[in-house]
Amino acid sequence: MSVLIYAENADGKFKKSIFEVVSYARAIADQSNTTLTAISIGNINTDELNSLAKYGADKILNVANAQLKNFVNQAYASVIAEAAKKEGADIVVLSNSFSGRGLAPRIGVKLDAGLVDGAVELPELNGGKFTVKKTAFSGKAFAVVELTSANKVIALTPNSYKIVEAAKTAKVEDFNVETKESDFKAMLKEIVRSTDKVSLPDAEIVVSGGRGLKGPENWGMIEELASLLGAATACSKPVSDSGWRPHSEHVGQTGIAVSPNLYIAIGISGAIQHLAGVSSSKVIVVINKDAEAPFFKVADYGIVGDAFEVVPKLIAAIKEHKALV
């Protein structure tokens, strides 16, 4: 019995969400007094691999097979499931990232394991019951799910578990598995990265604009505010539906659900579908000229005012604040 995590890398680097996964899995391993193994697949250097030990990995498996350099959903799932079997891991934890959501169900089926996606808290063990809290109804609620299978897979929502340092001395071991050809039917042609911007699902601060901004030409100040805060930009559904911004920025029930530390909504009224996607943000700021906008009811801070007057003032204040610190 032990815990295995999949440490997904992006271009040879682990993101914060992976250290969250390690911290979370460390706590699970401690709950049941067992060890934590991490598996990494693809190009990555030893320093980066060793960083997993800082958050509690006892053992680090490195898969350097050239065929697995880039993400192949089917093949990666096979490798991770194989590692779980070899390590005797009965709990596999990974990030509920785009890739994680492709892997988790396949790993679950391979290991005959129940799967909780979108977990937001540590599992609870009560009277032999293993339960995990997860988001449901697109952020409008949470569900507590019991996994009744012997093996379990958990996909952790980014930004929902705090990173805890728990330095271990871990050894990096090469891990080799035989791959099967039928796992490589899907072929990667190209990776397109928008490197200059903070990615929305990973962002700790999100600056989001709505129809109140009147048109795509007015997004300059949103981008400036976001860039000053190191934030990702986002938008409401009407904005992406009108083609003012790409769909990948649409936050809400039928778009992406985010859980940043700070969500700044500018010119968004706060329809129930939008609120669903942002309800797990830690702090919500609403800027809207309509004092009756429903968004104010779920906001922590608000400014009733015209975005075109308020946002430039915020930008000036941040510049001043930055000059001071």
Binding site: P105, D112, G118, A136, K185, K189, I191
Partner: protein
């Protein structure tokens, strides 16, 4: 080309979510159920790909008789025929297992799901189907184009996208960008009544998860308003009080 679109019957996006029986049951009282919005995208793309006699689109749903209005809606939008597996959709594993058994007996060139259902948001059925059928699966796609006996798909990743080529058959979960949802026209609505809807009984399978209870997000305190003239003060508050910048 034969396409299978897996559809879910979910609460309308405007639904206020509440629970009964000591927070153990979702309160469906007064809730309107709809075709899952992401499944509408899958269905729309399937219809586009088979338009003009280039194939058929079958929709499949695991649900009890009360999901039939949603299935008829899919038929009205343009699906060729429908299958309902007569069971409560216990969890993603149960649903995927039932659909996989059907597909093993009735193979398709392409199997589409929505990227997730808007009730439990799992993104699980596509991957589970892929594994059960030993087919490639792509969980969240933004684009799907044909290229001979292969498809070119765009997969979303954090801060970008991957472009993949995949030979048929495969499984994919569709997100915004793949197609615009279609609205049924009068002819579609009329013909939906007579299109074939086959009801089959589920097979036995051991489930591995149970929902024990539900919670709603903790309410936030009263909003703290900052005067528009004094907007800069907000930055101070976010720094010194909320400590988020």
């Amino acid at each position: 080309m034969t396409i299978l679109v897996c559809i879910s019957n979910v609460p309308d996006t405007t639904t206020k979510i509440t629970f009964t029986d000591n927070n153990t049951q979702f309160n469906t009282n007064g809730v309107q159920f709809i075709l899952n919005p992401y499944d509408e995208i899958a269905l729309a793309r399937a219809i586009e790909l088979t338009d003009g006699g280039k194939g058929t689109v079958t929709v499949i749903n695991v649900g009890e008789a009360n999901t039939e209005p949603t299935i008829r809606k899919a038929l009205a939008i343009g699906a060729t025929d429908a299958v309902r597996i007569n069971a409560k959709p216990h969890d993603a594993w149960f649903v995927a297992y039932q659909i996989a058994q059907y597909v093993k007996a009735n193979p398709f060139d392409l199997i589409l799901t929505g990227r997730e259902s808007i009730d439990y948001n799992g993104s699980k059925v596509a991957g589970m189907l892929g594994e059960l059928l030993d087919l490639p699966s792509v969980s969240i796609i933004k684009k799907l184009e044909l290229d001979g006996d292969k498809a070119i798909v765009e997969r979303e990743i954090e801060g970008g996208k991957e472009i993949l080529t995949i030979p048929f058959p495969f499984v994919a979960g569709t997100a915004e960008g793949v197609a615009e949802p279609k609205i049924p026209n009068m002819r579609g609505i009329m013909s939906a009544r007579t299109k074939p809807l086959t009801v089959i009984e589920p097979v036995d399978v051991k489930t591995n998860s149970e929902i024990i209870s539900y919670e709603t997000p903790a309410p936030r305190g009263q909003v703290k308003l900052v005067a528009a003239d004094d907007s800069g003060k907000l930055i101070d508050l976010l720094h010194t009080e909320a400590k988020v910048i």
